[in-house]
């Protein structure tokens, strides 16, 4: 069978075999690393320094975009370790031994076994203590300092000395779990570095494409004399590599200095792995290959003649037909407007490639605000969960909230509307984000994607403390008036409702079914529809007295009310199953342990309460001391900094080809000031589309990213567990608009100024001769 690549060489058919394909591929790579290519690359960029200056600048930024997140990651890793060590001086904590259990474990298993094999003992030291629990029983607690931070080591220890008991709770301390956190952080940063790599490729691709467009003639000549894709590709890649090698050390030094400053000011750790240098090479390699491949591939498919012919700006001309009309109109305004039209392809490319960076910058702003939220949101340090039907006792909550260092306790007494066949009726304007989930009825739009929550005096005290809920309106009315409620407007992190304080709502309370209802379908809307048609409801009119933000990212919103109203609309006994204990900021790890111990002593064995130490303060401290927001902002600014060079690079190339045009126009009688006005006019008019493009691209791309994170990732179950908002940065936008306007004007005028200088110089030389 004839292969596509079979061919005749000097009248002989040469078959293209798989072996040949492999040989070709290997050859391609081997030739890539040939010293000649390397030498040519270095010579080309050092010889044509001015031609490549924009690439030197871009390459510096690109490498910083590798090193900044890389070093931020290492700093985060170092900080995690530092804080984990500060937070606990043991690896394993076992608590809840009764006296008997303790004696058995300590004397018979742990100590006795261990005295025999001191040689391969798994721990450094241990410590045990006693405490009294809520019902006055004496309990034992054991803390063990292992001789390795590895989680598997601790697990092995527990296999060797197994514990069992009714109330025994085993906790791996941060000293053990930080390694898992380190892996998690690497898993987060590596995609970030890859995304920044793609961004870097885009930057280099845009710049290289401008270069290729303007040097078409040269590439046409190269191709006339034997250059093929391989040669062009190797040349292009090595040019960028040479630049990368020259800027490597400076970028690393800058990145390290910046890292030292950031870490010193935040009080976090610093780390640097020698391997990251290897990674940086690999990363750069891929970035560069990705950047030059598309443009060179496209270039190599053109014929040399078409490239040589396109060497001047004429390849940008979209419609030569209009040319005969140019001179009839007023000069220079109409002349240049026609120019815009004739060169519209060039200007469109220029605008998009220069301004896309503004939108990346604005995205950086949004991501920064999101990361800031994730780093600064305080989550509960300790959580109580009740397994018993009685729930968590109010008395406990009151008692624990008095502990020094406890800020407030959010404690949930709630039930899903679906669990009690309830729904409420919204009007058209209120149901903004959940419109598709509601069911139209005679009196409005029915919805049941919410939960009823009870606010009693104790919870009211807690959530109105500083740091509790964010409240708009008057929450006290909810407590004092029987028809007042508080609402939250969020599902996950999306604001899905549009309530106003004073709005009236109708709550439907299920009474009885008139026809059987099929609950065995996954479609909630369908069930709700059946309920509305087949069941009897009692309606309660309520007024929204307060709109609250609990900071929760639950999959349903909340309708909160006083005891009395709650009992009226919820025909079922509901008890608190969960209480989140928030602590004050800036507490030492010792004090946090003390709070935990105090709470532990307050719970009796019979309460059926599970005590969970979330250690969110530790997480918060790590985030604060190795915050990545400075790095995000810096990277965003770097990306924006690429925008002016794109303008100047592109416009100066374009402008240098207008030299003949300038001579021609002045030969026809255009004065210098007229020509100057022409370029100034040109630059100023460019600011209009530039501004429009900035606003559209900036707003559009940020909106896209927000939707991606907030809707798409959330729908995959990867939503964030903290509240963050979509704030389009107007300051950022104004910066972008000003930058692109200034770039447009100056970069358009500059080639003219340069031409004038050159012309005068030539004129002087001629006079001198």
């Amino acid at each position: 069978m004839a292969h596509r690549k079979d061919k005749y060489v000097d009248h002989e058919l040469v078959r293209y075999t798989p072996r040949q394909a492999i040989k070709d591929a290997v050859g391609f790579v081997v030739r890539f690393f040939s010293p000649a290519n390397f030498k040519h690359g270095i010579r080309s960029v050092t010889g044509g320094f001015r031609e490549f200056s924009v690439f030197f600048f871009a390459m510096l930024l690109v490498q910083l975009m590798f090193w900044f997140p890389m070093l931020a990651m290492e700093a985060r890793v170092a900080t995690i370790k530092k804080e984990a060590y500060a937070a606990a001086d043991y690896h394993l904590k076992i608590e809840g031994f009764s006296s008997d259990e303790w004696t058995a474990y300590f004397n018979e298993t742990f100590i006795i076994t261990d005295t025999y094999d001191i040689e391969d003992r798994m721990y450094e030291s241990y410590e045990y203590s006693t405490y009294q629990n809520g019902s006055g029983r004496l309990m034992y607690e054991l803390k063990v300092l292992m001789n390795s931070d590895d989680e598997s080591h601790t697990r092995l220890f527990l296999l060797k000395y197994p514990v069992s008991g009714e109330n025994i709770k085993i906790e791996y301390s941060p000293r053990t779990s930080y390694l898992a956190e380190v892996s998690r952080i690497r898993a987060i940063f590596i995609p970030i570095i890859i995304v920044l790599g793609l961004l870097s490729s885009v930057i280099l691709l845009i710049l290289y494409n401008i270069r290729i467009n303007h040097y078409k003639f040269r590439y046409g000549v190269y191709m006339s004399f034997g250059a093929d894709f391989e040669k062009l590709f190797h040349t292009a890649a090595w040019e960028l590599f040479s630049i990368a090698m020259i800027t490597f050390v400076p970028s690393l030094i800058i990145a390290l200095l910046v890292r030292i400053i950031i870490s010193a000011s935040l009080g976090g750790g610093i780390g640097f792995g020698i391997f990251s240098i290897l990674w940086s090479f690999l990363w750069l390699f891929l970035v560069i290959l990705l950047a030059v491949f598309p443009s060179v591939k496209f270039l190599s498919t053109r014929t040399p003649t078409s490239l040589i012919v396109a060497g001047d700006n004429s390849n940008y001309v979209s419609s030569p037909k209009t040319s005969f009309r140019i001179f009839r109109k007023s000069f220079p305004k109409h002349y240049e407007l026609f120019g815009f039209w004739r060169f519209r392809r060039y200007y469109a490319t220029l605008l998009v490639s220069a301004i896309i960076f503004s939108s990346f910058f604005l995205c950086g702003f949004f991501i920064n605000s999101m990361v800031t939220a994730s780093e600064t949101t305080r989550l509960p340090d300790i959580t109580l969960r009740s397994n018993s039907p009685d729930g968590i006792d109010v008395m406990l909550v009151e008692e624990f909230s008095e502990i020094k260092g406890v800020k407030y306790i959010n404690w949930e007494n709630s039930i899903d509307a679906t669990a009690i066949n309830a729904y409420l009726v919204l009007d058209r304007s209120q149901r903004s984000g959940i419109a598709s989930k509601t069911v139209k009825t005679d009196i409005g739009f029915a919805d049941n994607n919410y939960k009823y929550s009870r606010i009693d005096e104790t919870l009211y005290d807690q959530i109105t403390r500083e740091g509790g809920w964010k409240i708009e309106g008057d929450l006290s009315r909810v407590m004092s008036e029987d028809n007042c409620i508080a609402v939250s407007e969020y599902i996950n992190n999306s604001k899905v409702l549009n309530f106003k304080v004073g709005d009236k709502l109708t709550l439907a309370v299920f009474e009885s079914t008139e026809k059987p209802i099929d609950y065995d379908v996954p479609d909630n809307k369908y069930i709700l529809n059946q309920l509305i048609n087949n069941a009897k409801f009692r309606f309660v009119e309520v007024e929204i007295a307060a709109i609250v933000d609990t900071g929760d990212t639950d999959d349903r919103y909340m309708i909160a009310m006083s005891d009395a109203l709650f009992n009226n609309v919820v025909p079922k006994e509901v008890n608190a199953s969960k209480a989140d204990i928030y602590v004050s900021e800036g507490m030492s790890y010792k004090d946090l342990d003390l709070i935990y111990d105090t709470i532990r002593s307050g719970i009796s064995t019979f309460d059926g309460i599970q005590l969970i130490n979330n250690r969110n303060s530790l997480r918060y401290n790590i985030a604060e001391k190795s915050s990545i927001t400075p790095v995000i902002l810096l990277c965003a600014v770097f990306v924006l900094l690429v925008s002016p060079p794109v303008w100047f690079f592109s416009q100066s190339m374009f402008g240098s080809k207008r030299k003949t045009e300038n001579y021609m126009l002045s030969a026809f009688g255009a004065t210098d000031s007229e020509l100057g006005r022409l370029y100034l006019f040109s630059g100023c008019s460019l600011t209009i589309p530039a501004t429009v493009a900035t606003v559209l691209l900036g707003w559009g791309v940020t909106e896209l990213i927000y939707t991606f994170i907030n809707q798409f990732l959330t729908s995959l179950g990867m939503g964030a567990d903290f509240r963050y908002s979509y704030e389009f940065s107007f300051v950022g936008l104004i910066i972008c608009v000003m930058l692109s306007s200034a770039s447009a004007i100056i970069s358009t005028y500059m080639p003219f100024a340069r031409w004038k200088k050159e012309r005068d110089r030539i004129a002087r030389r001629h006079l001198g001769e």
Binding site: G48, G226, D228, I308
Partner: protein, 233 residues
């Protein structure tokens, strides 16, 4: 004559340029066979399609239809990459308007083909010295094209075409900018290298004196290629 090898064969080559509603047929069904070692001249009035035909034969442009064989290889069927390498190794081109790269010195311009084909330095050094000496540009090697006279640019462009010792040389008005004496000298050089290296030479010219040195003369008239007959015949 019959047993001579055909080195370049054009089959029904058509090239058209479309611009809006007009179509220019620059080359109209051109057929030709050129033998190994032959020197063929193409003459014709301005705009008749000589350069276009030459570019297509040299694989620098693609015809709308028709085929070009060089040493039996159908270059119109080659991928652009294969063609690129093929051009570098077997063909040399002297452009009508030189097409020197303005940012490169004369020497750098001459050496472009060696660079593009990864030729090691020693393989062309001797040849280079001889070329620049014969073409009388050895003292202008470090000048930019803009600092050279039209004739000097032309000679640089010829040196560039010959540096890789191509088997087929395409020359588009190689003596266009030269005075009589210089034109003759350049032609002698082309013919001498052709003899030495056994090259085939396809030359476009206005100059009847030069055309007469060729083994054969072809005429391009409005895109149609035909053998030249003297008026007296």
């Amino acid at each position: 004559m019959e047993d001579r090898k055909v080195i370049l064969k054009a089959e029904n080559v058509i090239k058209q340029y479309k611009q809006y509603d007009t179509t220019v047929t620059a080359v109209n069904r051109a057929n030709v066979e050129i033998y190994d070692g032959e020197m063929v001249a193409i003459i014709g009035s301005s705009g008749s399609g000589k350069s276009t035909f030459l570019h297509i034969c040299a694989g620098l442009d693609r015809p709308n239809s028709g085929r070009i064989f060089i040493r039996g290889n159908d270059i119109t069927a080659m991928s652009s990459d294969e063609l690129g390498v093929f051009r570098g190794n077997y063909m040399g081109m002297v452009f009508q308007n030189h097409n020197l790269i303005p940012q490169f010195t004369a020497m750098e311009n001459i050496l472009i083909p060696t660079l593009m084909c990864n030729k090691p330095d020693h393989s062309y050094e001797e040849h280079f010295k001889k070329l620049v000496a014969t073409l009388n540009i050895h003292d202008r090697l470090h000048h930019l094209p803009s600092e050279l006279s039209g004739g000097q640019q032309q000679r640089v462009s010829i040196a560039r075409a010959l540096i890789n010792r191509p088997q087929v040389v395409f020359a588009d008005e190689p003596t266009g900018n030269l005075d009589r004496a210089n034109a003759d000298e350049v032609l002698e050089l082309l013919i001498k290298t052709k003899e030495e290296l056994g090259q085939t030479l396809l030359i476009v010219t206005h100059d009847m004196k030069i055309a007469e040195r060729a083994d054969r003369i072809l005429v391009m008239d409005n895109g149609v290629l035909s053998p030249y007959r003297k008026k007296s015949e």
